[in-house]
């Protein structure tokens, strides 16, 4: 079947503002949006710019707005989208570099600000630092993040103020705050209680709906808000 793909294009060397361009592509219902973009780039317009890497929903490179909602192009099938034209646009809230490529630097700066690594200066035991299955289960959901930025760039609070750390950074802070082996939870909670921390979240749920890994992001943010308010991780 033939499908119309409407893409928001922007070439910083020639365009003052982004504009839409529509392509007609032969596609199967089981094709992914990434396949359509590859066909356009390969056979119709080689100048089309977008990020992709593993193409299997793990690297998080190809997050973009597809039919008005943040999704991974490699995990979105044509048959799961409404009939007619498929609209593909870059993520909101980040600066546009070219076509579907946005500047991810602010996103990763926020990510780094929450210390997304294990901190434990205690002498290590002879074998590994043991953890019970229950303790591991406590933060299992937030280990699934692939840093695609679909959540952060779906958040109206982030659109209105780019200094907000955003859902992805909070999810990755949650992953270590609730890790029984980590010792820097209090420091992370201090960072997140800042005016651009968790309290910028207005429980809108766009992040949870946009997450391609189905992480309960708003719940993770809620747990951190509660931990800050009560001073307890229980």
């Amino acid at each position: 079947m033939e499908i119309k793909v409407k893409i928001l294009r922007f070439n910083p060397e020639t365009d003052k503002r982004p504009h839409y361009q529509t392509f007609r592509v032969e596609a199967e219902p089981t094709d992914r949006v990434l396949d359509l973009l590859e066909k356009i780039k390969g056979y119709q317009d080689g100048s089309l710019a977008f990020r992709r890497s593993c193409a299997h929903g793990i690297c998080g490179s190809d997050a973009m707005r597809i039919n008005g909602m943040n999704r991974l192009a490699c995990k979105t099938l044509v048959k799961d989208l409404s009939k007619g034209t498929i609209t593909v646009e870059p993520l909101l809230g980040l600066s546009l570099i070219k076509d579907l490529i946005v500047d991810m630097d602010p996103f990763f700066e926020h990510y780094e600000s929450v210390m997304p690594y294990l901190v434990n200066d205690e002498p290590p035991p002879l074998k590994e630092r043991l953890q019970s299955p229950e303790e591991r289960e406590r933060f299992d959901d937030t280990t699934k993040c692939i840093l695609c930025a679909a959540c952060t760039t779906s958040c109206p609070s982030f659109w209105s103020n780019g200094r907000y750390v955003g859902p992805a950074a909070i999810v990755n802070a949650h992953r270590f705050i609730f890790d029984s082996r980590d010792r820097a939870g209090a420091e992370r909670l201090r960072i997140l209680s800042d005016q651009f921390g968790v309290y910028r979240c207005h429980t809108i749920f766009n992040c949870t709906l946009a997450c391609p890994r189905e992480i309960q992001i708003t719940k993770a943010i809620g747990e951190i808000k509660r931990a800050i308010a009560t001073g307890s991780l229980d």
Partner: protein
């Protein structure tokens, strides 16, 4: 060079679903209440201090059913939605059931607002 091309319209077009609509209505409701309270204080001030006809006109506007009906909508929605958010923030475990909680909010809102609309229409019909 990277540049930001972001507009209000692009944000409003984002398909966030029912909870994003609830957030938008919550914000609009907050503004509606500020306008109502502002008008009320301003009209009372003008009427009491100067016996102004303009104050009476403002009173007539905000007491009209066309102003009251949307105002009640926003006030009741704002209150219920605020209660839902407080509940979810206080008990994060409930966030797993946010869809159900949102439906529950509408199930309380619809009969409550329906009652208000009934009384407004009854007032119009009886000419009060």
């Amino acid at each position: 060079m990277a540049a930001k091309f972001q507009t209000w319209w692009q944000g409003l077009r984002y398909r966030g679903g029912g909870t994003m609509v609830a957030w938008l209505l919550h914000r609009i409701g907050g503004l509606a209440m500020v306008i109502f309270v502002g008008m009320h204080v301003f009209a009372s001030f003008l009427t009491q201090q100067f016996g102004s006809g303009f104050g009476t006109t403002l009173n007539i506007i905000y007491q009209s059913p066309y102003f009251q009906a949307p105002l009640y909508f926003f006030v009741i929605f704002h209150a219920l939605n605020g209660f839902r958010i407080i509940l979810l923030d206080t008990f994060p475990k409930l966030l797993e059931y946010q869809r159900e909680v949102t439906w529950l909010q509408w199930m309380v809102f619809i009969p409550l607002y329906g009652l208000v609309v009934f009384f407004i229409i009854a007032g119009i019909v009886s000419g009060e």
